[in-house]
Amino acid sequence: MTMDKKVSAIINKYEGDRSQLVSILQDIQAEYYYLPQKTLIQVSETMAIPASRVYDVATFFRAFSLEPRGKHLINVCQGTACHVRGAARVLEQLERSLCVKRGETTKDRKFTLETVNCMGCCAVGPAVKIDGDYFGQMSTDKVDNILTKF
């Protein structure tokens, strides 16, 4: 399916309901791993929402990315429970291992490294999620081992 047909299908799923803008953008991002500019313009035109407003929403929420992302999305939890158990060190180790900073994508487009404020598995922190897989009780020495699984 072409990009514009896919986006139309997503908008139709929500019956073009403007109040569902965040959900619509979530679905588009789930499809392309980021929000391509073309899709934002299409959403604006189809749903009669000013492009500035679509851009406003797309840049307000930290879940959205306007830059292409890698094949695998790494989310390093920086919630309080993870923080007191050393989440910052885990993030730094991932940055060193992948040679990227938080928010960046590796040169080979394999991984994008992002942080998240809480994933709801505080009891097993520090937690890292790669795509749909959760890893608990992380420490710097476990990082490389986990990356090789992808």
């Binding site: 920086q78 429970a81 993870c82 404020n117 709801g120 608990g136």
Partner: protein, 619 residues
């Protein structure tokens, strides 16, 4: 899936039928499928049970139930075997054949899978005898272990939606509001506003179209109580919401869920569809003439959207910016219409109050805070997990009796409640009864139920900086005090943790705090200083050590610490040599301690993490 229910009698008949089906007398294996058990591989354990049951020819002789969060997340995956209430923890797929052949078939207990009480060191067989569960009062969370959250049949079998039927057929909206008011239920989202009063204001607000909303945007980092409830028992939230809608006179509801909670989102979506199919949502609910529909909206990872006006703006498809609340949302909220917003846990309390009565509910808790509260007990504590306790229980009982004390025998330093709007409470306040008013008096707050325990290795200045960094990122930027004030405070804290602080900084932080509290547009900015104020109030000596002595007593702030090798403990195994990304550690041969070159060290802590002999020190 049962057919549509057209009356109260239909529901009662179905409940009877389903309850009978449950009481088969077959052994029952319950496996936790909650979010926190996933990193431990609960999905593989469940798969293994399915395979092994058919392999051992037991599939028709044993019931297997996958459930939501059991609470003792630290020890997941959790398996409970009935009859006997036998509690197994940290179960691996490899343990499954033995659980079936030994415990199910022969009735033998498998010792190695039992829970060990961290205080006494003794093994415990039955779930109810585990200290973690003993002092809890699981009125709301308790059903998590009894039902498969994606089966409405399970929820109905244990009496689900009977409160709704009671509300629709035996009570007027006014009576329901009166009951909720009398129960003393206060909002579980943080501020603790009386729920019944809020409902009453919304009911009386002028306007024909009204909305009810579930706030499931649990943004407090370190809190996952709502996640555990919404993913583990979504119908209880929905049932509360429908009762509230009927009482208020709303016909449209919304559930605003964090997108970071995929399991909760999936389960509430399933629950919604099932309730619709059974006629518990939609037109003419149970033949009562009451119409009500619900939509699910997903958040986008903005903390400020937990604030009512910001959440409502987001529901309208706008950015989640709050507005000043001189006109309350119960009068003009979503689309400028009267709107009632309550937290997941608040809604979940409603069916319990309707079924058991406000008088019963009032017997739990303190004068000003009735009922129970769910906390996410996490951090440097032995039994991390979700706990539900009666209001008024002392902090000490939660941390030591339920939580099993501090990990690795370390010393308790502080407990943080209320998320970024809350504060850190010291050891001297451990006997504080936990309720809305006492926590506020101590400078913290209830919040949505995060309770993060910190030990001697947690730096309180770093914690304050952590929260301010969080809030700086999450500030929507609409008002100046929050946008600029939080940033300045974070910069000052940054300087202090880097050894660049000076003696006026504490005073400056306190003055900025007062300005933010007085002049911010919404609660995010107004309460942002709380982590700073409480850490200064209770841990001033740590600030002073950073500022005057350029020292981080907890050994956290990178600029103020250094790593070193404790020679007498180091066998020269070389693990740290491999782990060091800077080649700062050199092996000196077998059985000789390694040498660390401090000029190359970037203080990443890799050597510290990898050494299990404690031969790497930091100070």
């Amino acid at each position: 899936m049962p057919t549509k229910l057209n009356s109260k009698q239909d529901l009662e008949a179905l409940q009877k039928e389903l309850a009978n089906k449950r009481g088969t007398g077959k052994p029952l294996i319950t496996v936790c499928n909650g979010t926190a058990c996933h990193p431990y591989g609960c999905a593989q354990v469940i798969e293994s049970f399915n395979q092994e049951l058919s392999k051992q020819g037991l599939e028709n002789k044993v019931d297997l139930r996958t459930t939501g969060c059991h609470g003792l997340c630290e020890k997941g995956p959790i398996v409970v075997v009935q009859p006997g209430d036998i509690f197994y923890q940290q179960v691996k797929p490899g343990d499954v054949p033995e659980i079936l052949s030994e415990t199910i078939v022969k009735g033998n207990i498998i010792d190695r899978l039992l829970h060990t009480d961290p205080i006494t060191g003794s093994k415990v067989v039955h779930r109810q005898e585990i200290p973690f569960y003993k002092k809890q009062k699981r009125n709301i969370l308790g059903n998590n272990t009894e039902i498969n959250p994606i089966k409405i049949e399970d929820y109905i079998a244990i009496g689900g939606y009977t409160a709704l039927a009671k509300a629709l057929f035996e009570m007027t909206p006014e009576q329901i509001i009166e009951e909720i008011k009398h129960s003393g239920l206060r909002g579980r989202g943080g501020a603790g506003f009386p729920t019944g009063t809020k409902w009453e204001s919304c009911r009386h607000a002028p306007g024909d179209i009204k909305y009810v909303i579930v706030n499931a945007d649990e943004g407090d980092p370190g809190a996952y109580a709502n996640e555990g409830l919404l993913s583990g028992n979504p119908h209880s939230v929905l049932e509360g919401l429908i009762i509230g809608a009927y009482a208020i006179g709303a016909h449209q509801g919304y559930v605003y869920v964090r997108n970071e909670y995929p399991l909760a989102l999936a389960n509430i979506t399933t629950a919604l569809n099932q309730a619709q199919q059974l006629g518990l949502l939609g037109d003419n609910i149970l033949g009562s003439g009451f119409n009500f529909t619900v939509r699910i909206n997903r958040g986008g990872g903005a903390f400020v959207c937990g604030e009512s006006t910001a959440l409502m703006a987001s529901l309208e498809g706008k950015v989640g910016e709050p507005r000043a609340k001189y006109v309350h949302t119960v009068e003009k909220g979503l689309w400028n219409r009267p709107s009632d917003l309550n937290n997941v846990e608040t809604w979940s309390n409603v069916p319990v109050i309707i079924n058991k009565g406000a008088d019963w509910y009032r017997t739990l808790g303190t004068d000003g805070s009735k009922g129970t509260k769910i906390f996410s007990l996490v951090g440097k504590i032995n039994n991390t997990g979700l706990v539900e306790v009666p209001m008024g229980i002392p902090l000490r009982e939660i941390i030591y009796d339920i939580g099993g004390g501090i990990r690795e025998g370390k010393k308790f330093k502080a407990v943080q409640t209320g998320g970024p709007s809350g504060g850190c409470l010291p050891e001297s306040l451990l006997d504080l009864p936990v309720d809305f008013d006492e926590l506020t008096k101590a400078g913290s707050m209830m919040g949505s139920g995060g309770m993060i325990v910190m030990d001697e290795t947690t730096c309180m200045v770093d914690v304050a900086k952590y929260f301010l960094t969080f809030l700086e990122e999450e500030s929507c930027g609409k008002c100046v005090p929050c946008r600029e004030g939080v940033k300045r405070m974070r910069q000052i804290l940054n300087d202090i943790t880097e050894g660049k602080g000076n003696e006026e900084d504490i005073d400056l932080l306190e003055r900025l705090s007062a300005t933010l509290a007085d002049s911010s547009l919404c609660a995010l900015g107004a309460t942002a200083p709380n982590p700073v104020i409480t850490t200064i109030r209770y841990f001033k000596d740590e600030y002073e050590a950073h500022i005057k002595e350029k020292r981080c007593p907890a050994g956290v702030c990178k600029a103020l610490i250094h790593y070193y090798i404790i020679e007498e403990k180091c066998p020269g195994c070389g693990l740290c040599v491999t782990a060091c990304p800077q080649e700062a550690i050199t092996s000196m041969g077998k059985k000789k301690p390694v040498v660390l070159d401090e000029s190359k060290c970037i203080k990443c802590g890799a050597c510290y993490d990898v050494c299990k002999l404690g031969a790497v020190g930091k100070e």
